[in-house]
Amino acid sequence: MSAAFLRNKAAVLGLGLLAAIVAMAILAPVLYPDDPLDMVGTPFLWPGQDPSFPLGTDSLGRDVAAGIAHGARVSLLIGLWATVLGLALGVSIGAIGGYFGGWLDDVALRAVELFQTVPPFLLVIVLVAIWEPSIRNITLAIGLVSWPPVMRLTRAEFRSFREKDFVTAARGLGFGHGRIILREILPNALPPIVVTSSVMVATAILMESALSFLGLGDANRVSWGSMIGNGREVLRAAWFLTAVPGAMIVVAVLALNLVSDGLNEALNPRLGRS
């Protein structure tokens, strides 16, 4: 499986880009120990104009490079935890509904439909507006709206696997429902879930950026989205203030999608393993 993934050049490129962004996020406090929101230089320095600010400064004289590095932390953190939350909800509810069927499945389906009738981004905005906009609350809100597709996927997998002979055989050996769900079916259902989760991270990063762009992000933390939002006001005078963080979002989302495609090919036996 890992060999199949590594043969895929696009996937390896995606993984490399992702690793670079993760390294940047990890090293941000080392490279830029000061608060990226501090005003440290002359406003509107273009990239390359001053060697100490390689990506320039914004309208308040804040270092863009420091913002990008610290923004990566916020984006990845939110992307990761929102996905973990979405996966936890979606997989557990989908597994229970799909495996047991009956009224449990009905309840699970109604719950998912409740979420699917509301546009997810709208729900995030409402939730963040009700709670205070902190990193934790934004993560919670994004996680809460991202579980329905995972739930449907997991449910479909469990519905087909629960009819398999090896599940009947496992019951014949005295395995309980919990053991069958976790040890017998889940490992089989995992590949499509893994593939989906990398796209979920990308979606969460986009949602956070959009929130910050609208000014609903955490005001005390710099993020790529908030940098674009601030740069928008001076778009004609200093377009690089929106272009640089915008490019970072593109690269991060692209990397995650490439990884997802690579995983899909490596994990999906129907696409041919060799």
């Binding site: 090896f166 009947t168 055989a169 496992a170 014949g172 050996l173 395995f175 053991r179 040890r183 089989n188």
Partner: protein, 317 residues
């Protein structure tokens, strides 16, 4: 004293009664064969003994085992028994193993569940079990996935899983139907040896009368969910009494005279089991060649005919 005593077992679905008032018993270290064509209720009988009849099937009657009625046990208690005291081997070795787990882990899982072994001890025991079911190089194969194994090897792994906790009753539901003829004999020999070595009772479900003749101690012939004849296998093969048993035997190819289709047609039983639906009297009457008028109205009771022989046919003699 029978080890497992099935009394008046009935498995009913909304549209059809798949097993109707079936009674039989199995003694320690005995091989009992359940014979009948597809749809005669053999597999559902096995699932009923295991407490695994799928919804919306309803099971009634009694299954006495070790001083308790299995059908009256709560699910949690039944779950402890399954795999430990009563185990089952399924028909399809190709799909009965989990494709993403190594066979060692699947065997070990049972041991950890029922015997509380540590991961290390369970793995060692799994290797022993693979050796016991005659899998070559068990120390290496224990880490194989099912797709690396042949059908015969997979069925051996299934057997290893089933006997892992030394069950007292082993149910084998057509264990060799999906296998090559040469492998069939090996697997049945293995089951027979394990039955003797471990002192298990074996319930062998099959439609192959050759298997019955060679490996069974007693045979129950089923038709449309009912027991139509019970006999010792040699008696049954020499002189089947129920017209259905006679028909089954006549429909089995034999190597002697007129086996090839150019030399003579294989006998068949006319009609299909579907004709038993809604039949008030004997379920076999619509296909029977010695049918009498009363067969359509009176359901035949089991009659004792000779030693340990029961036949549900008033005409048979």
């Amino acid at each position: 004293m029978a080890l497992l005593d099935v009394h008046d077992l009935t498995v009913a679905f909304p549209s059809v009664t798949a097993v109707a008032g079936l009674s039989f018993s199995v003694h320690e270290s005995e091989t009992l064969a359940l014979v009948g064509e597809s749809g005669s209720g053999k597999s559902l009988t096995a699932l009923a003994l295991m407490g695994l009849v799928p919804r919306p099937g309803r099971v009634s009657g009694a299954v006495h085992f070790g001083g308790q009625d299995l059908l009256a046990l709560p699910e949690a208690r039944m779950r402890q028994l399954r795999g430990r005291d009563i185990a089952m081997i399924f028909q399809e070795p190709m799909t009965s193993l989990n494709p993403v787990l190594t066979i060692g882990r699947q065997i070990a899982e049972t041991l950890r569940l029922h015997e509380g072994l540590s991961a290390r001890a369970a793995r060692l025991r799994a290797i022993e079990l693979l050796d016991l079911v005659r899998i070559a190089d068990p120390g290496r194969q224990v880490d194989s996935h099912a797709h690396r194994l042949s059908g015969g090897m997979r069925q051996r792994v299934m057997i290893a899983m089933a006997i892992a906790c030394n069950p007292r009753v082993l149910i084998a539901d057509e264990p060799t139907t999906a296998l090559d003829v040469t492998i069939q004999a090996q697997v049945l020999d293995l089951l027979d040896r394990l039955r003797r070595d471990l002192g298990m009772a074996l319930i062998l479900i099959t439609h192959d009368l050759g298997v019955v003749g060679q490996w069974a101690d007693r045979v129950v012939v089923m038709y449309a969910g009912r027991k139509v004849e019970e006999a010792d296998p040699i008696g049954l093969l020499r002189r089947p009494l129920h017209p259905y048993s006679r028909g089954l035997l006549g429909a089995s190819p034999r190597l002697q005279a007129r086996a090839h289709y150019r030399l003579g047609r294989l006998a068949e039983i006319p009609g299909s089991m579907a004709s038993a639906l809604g039949q008030a009297g004997c379920p076999f009457a619509p296909r029977c060649d010695v049918r009498q008028d009363k067969c359509d109205s009176v359901a035949p009771a089991l009659r004792e005919m000779g030693e340990a022989r029961l036949v549900a046919c008033p005409v048979a003699a």
